[in-house]
Amino acid sequence: MLAAQDDLMDMLNDMEAEEETTDYTYATFKTVRVVNAHSIENSAEGVLTLIIAHRFGRVNSGAYDFFGLDQANMRLGFEYGVTPWLTAGIGRSNIRKTYDGFLKAKLLRQSTGKRNMPITLSYVGGMQINGQRWAEPERENFFSSRLSYLHQLLIARKFSERVSLQLMPSVVHRNLVATPEDQNDVFSLGAGGRFKISPSVTINLEYFYLLPGTTADQFENSLSLGIDIETGGHVFQLIFSNSRAMSENLFIAETDGSWGAGDIHFGFNLTRVFTVKRRK
């Protein structure tokens, strides 16, 4: 009797094998950020992601500043999944009173089976607005001077259940820079990854290498370590970084802390998803 059932199951398997399907990779990262940088994860369609992020002062500021915790910087952000492949986001951070907005579009999806694709590819286009009062209001100031832009490709691959890596070639364009020697266009190559240590916890690393130029001479490469802890609809990301700011124009192009000198900022990202539009 058992043999006959096995035959029937073989028949079923044969039937299923005839139809080859595409198996899309999912859960490359726990959430929409690696640490500071975008990950290839989007908010799902109809899902609103709220990010509350804090970066404290430098750990080496000592006990008087409670190891940096007396100086809190924050960014409040919302991201919405317009379609399964397009996310639109806005944010506001206190550093330079920055408003930022971005679009993140998924162009390729890693998959196996009928359609074989080794990587996931996304494009991020962003804009940051410096919201501070003009330093010299008496002279003629242009709104365009407040703006900077980000163009970034995210090239990611989930190598295994545990290991995902992401490359992030990026360019930050500042409309206005302080001196003629400063670069309007800052090119950098970012790399990030995660290692899953338990179903709910991953360790993330992220690095932005500034291509040689005056920016690279004056500033540090951003290096950040994160620990993602997932609890249902929340992800807590505990962060150690030499970058204080959370928008790309600042953390890629103007990181001034040095890990070697102990200029490390502790912080966290708290992400929470809200299903706005229910799936049918």
């Binding site: 009797m1 006959a4 059932q5 096995d6 029937l8 199951m9 028949m11 079923l12 398997n13 039937m15 299923e16 198996d23 999912y26 859960a27 799902a44 369609e45 899902v47 259940e161 179903p199 709910s200 997932e230 609890t231 249902g232 609809g233 998803v273 299903t275 229910r278 799936r279």
Partner: protein, 186 residues
């Protein structure tokens, strides 16, 4: 008269060796529907899989099911991701299967319209663990197609599915599984 007798004999012989049920003894579907439902005071969670394959051997009562765990659709995208990534671990155990037998099938005739209560028992494999499951079901036969429905309860703990403590109150200890298949002759 002799000819007629011979014909009758021939027919009887044919019927003995090739009973009509043998010609259409197997029934199948590739678009069966299995739903599961978890109820807790905090929230109700439901997921639907409309791509369940099944073959039924009407003569022997043997019945097999197979489905891909990834094909369960949840209302919330993140729940679906966590279900696959953390709970049922679809990357390691992509399929769930059931091989069983219809018991108390007396009178079940898939060529005669009617309602037939049945009892099914067999081996359910889920998350790499195999357990025996017995359930009551109902066959409703209409013009050569058979609609089969059944409801039974699965305990995640029986299948070594670990639910993290933070969502333990959101996911029921006993999950109701609802089966709804429309079989056609193979």
């Amino acid at each position: 008269m002799k000819n007629l007798l011979f014909s009758l004999l021939a027919c009887t012989c044919l019927a003995m060796f090739f009973p009509s049920s043998l010609l259409a003894q197997k029934y199948f579907t590739r678009s069966g529907h299995i739903q599961f439902y978890s109820h807790t005071p905090i929230e109700d969670i439901q997921a639907d899989n409309h791509q369940v394959s099944s073959i039924l051997n009407a003569q022997t009562g043997e019945i097999v099911f197979s489905l891909l765990m990834k094909s369960f659709q949840f209302e919330k995208a993140l729940m679906q991701e966590h279900f696959n990534e953390k709970y049922v671990e679809s990357h390691t155990y992509p399929k769930s299967t059931f091989t069983g037998k219809i018991l108390k099938a007396d009178g079940l005739d898939l060529e005669r319209n009617g309602s037939y209560p049945v009892s099914v028992t067999g081996q359910l494999t889920l998350h790499g663990v195999t357990r025996e499951v017995t359930t009551e079901g109902l066959f409703e036969v209409k013009d050569g197609t058979a609609k089969a429905t059944a409801t039974f309860v699965v305990k995640p703990a029986d299948f070594d599915i670990a639910i993290p403590s933070v969502v333990r109150d959101n996911i029921a200890k006993e999950i109701e599984v609802r089966v709804n298949m429309n079989y056609e002759p193979m």
